[in-house]
């Protein structure tokens, strides 16, 4: 199967008829139903094709509804999977699953949440990427032109810790109802860690987070690229203790994410990358409104959070997409 170009380089589970039939028991959808038109080749993809790739990825049947919904999300015009593949930037679909289904199918939102070791987390994102490769034709070196890529492109999927958070969830923030099962797809890089082990006040931690976020993807880019912030439980505790809700946090953080354009103009600091002179004298926000997605997840101990840089945002690039998971 590797020789045929059907895999992502790692061994896959052979998709025998029996295994695919068993996989299909995980959804109430008809195997012949259309799920999405998959970029880049814009191919009609059926539930059965998704199930075949889900078997190969190592999914269990109960994972299939999440895979189907995630695929729908990344195949929207808004998400722009074609562009996410074709860009030389090193992004891929980052899938955040929210709602009770995460517990029901055994997803991890705790220790090593952005890493390996959990079957659902590891295989759902992998299945989506295998469909994009096998059905859509989006293979590395072909339409996928990433200069560097990242290991999350094997599949990057994790659960949001809603129960452990005093805040409304990312899913609710994006318009879903409480307790709704959703997938949010974000075009993102690999995560990098922000360490702050000394801040004991919400204000101090917020300033520290802002310092790191200002450098997300490029310190010389403002508003054009989104980011995802994965706030860990021990960092969230600062906000719980201070009584800050999500909106207070967003407002305070935004205040520290204003950039003096003069400091990032072309030539400033003897750096040739930067904004054109037209922006001289302006104060600009690092992120567009709604351009920072904040998720609560991670192990109970450790004063670290993670930043996942995005790609070109908006109608000219990729919009994050949230979809309700249906059986």
């Amino acid at each position: 199967m590797f020789d045929r170009g059907w895999t992502d380089g790692l061994p896959v589970v052979p998709p025998t008829e029996d295994r695919v039939e068993r996989m299909l028991t995980g959804t109430s959808r008809n195997p012949a139903d259309l799920v999405a038109v998959v970029p880049p080749d814009l191919v009609d993809c059926t539930v059965e094709k998704v199930a075949i790739n889900a078997v190969m990825a190592g999914c269990r049947p109960e994972h299939l509804p999440v895979v189907l919904t995630a695929l729908e999300a990344v195949c929207t015009d808004d998400f722009n999977m074609h562009g996410v593949l074709a860009t030389t930037m090193s992004v891929g679909p980052v899938l955040v699953v929210s709602g009770p289904i995460t517990g029901q199918i055994g997803m991890n939102h705790g220790i090593n949440v952005l890493g390996h070791g959990n079957r659902a987390n590891s295989t759902i994102g992998r299945a989506v990427q295998l469909v994009v490769r096998n059905v859509g034709g989006g293979a590395p070196g072909g339409i996928d032109r990433a200069t560097l890529g990242h290991m999350g492109k094997q599949g990057f999927c994790f659960a949001e810790d809603t129960a452990g958070s005093p805040w409304t969830s990312l899913s609710e923030e994006r318009g879903s109802g409480p307790g709704q099962n959703t997938v949010t797809a974000f075009a993102g890089e690999g995560p990098h860690i922000l360490m702050d082990q000394k801040s004991r006040s919400a204000d101090s931690l917020t300033r520290m987070l802002a310092n790191a976020l200002l450098g997300s993807v490029s310190s010389r880019v403002v508003m054009g690229i989104d980011a995802m912030l994965v706030l860990s439980p021990e960092h969230m505790a600062r906000y719980r203790d201070a009584g800050w809700g999500r909106s207070r946090f967003a407002d305070e953080l935004a205040g520290h994410l204003m950039v003096d354009a003069d400091s990032i103009l072309v030539g400033a600091g003897a750096i040739e990358e930067g904004l054109p002179q037209d922006f001289a004298g302006m104060s600009l926000p690092k992120f567009r409104p709604g351009g920072l997605l904040v998720v609560h997840a991670g192990g109970p101990a450790g004063l670290f959070s993670a930043i996942i840089g995005g790609w070109v945002n908006g109608p000219t690039g990729s919009e994050p997409v949230t979809k309700e998971i249906t059986p």
Binding site: M1, W6, P14, P15, T16, E17, V20, V38, D41, V43, C45, E48, K49, I52, N53, M56, N80, H82, G83, A86, T87, L130, N134, V135, G136, G137, V312, P315, T316, G317, S318
Partner: protein, 101 residues
Amino acid sequence: MTDTSLTGQTGLTVLDPTAEGRAAERELTDRAETLDGLTIGLLDISKPRGNVFLDRLEEHLVRIGAGVERYAKPTFTKPAPVDLRHEIATTCDAVIEALAD
């Protein structure tokens, strides 16, 4: 579709995970012997400094007698819209697309 070709090697019959389609094959249009008198489309994909490259190309093309039409994709992140592709195909004899950065 069932794929039995692996059966002999592995004892397994697997289902095909691909689109099971084949890319359409088209004949290349005839290559121009000369650019003199032809209309050449220059398509900027809208990345920074694509215009620098295309401006130089336009100078060269005009110098050797070609006509030039300039086009730009609305965004480099998405394929060129069908209408734009149609306009280029019906207006130009050849097209040069500029990547940049």
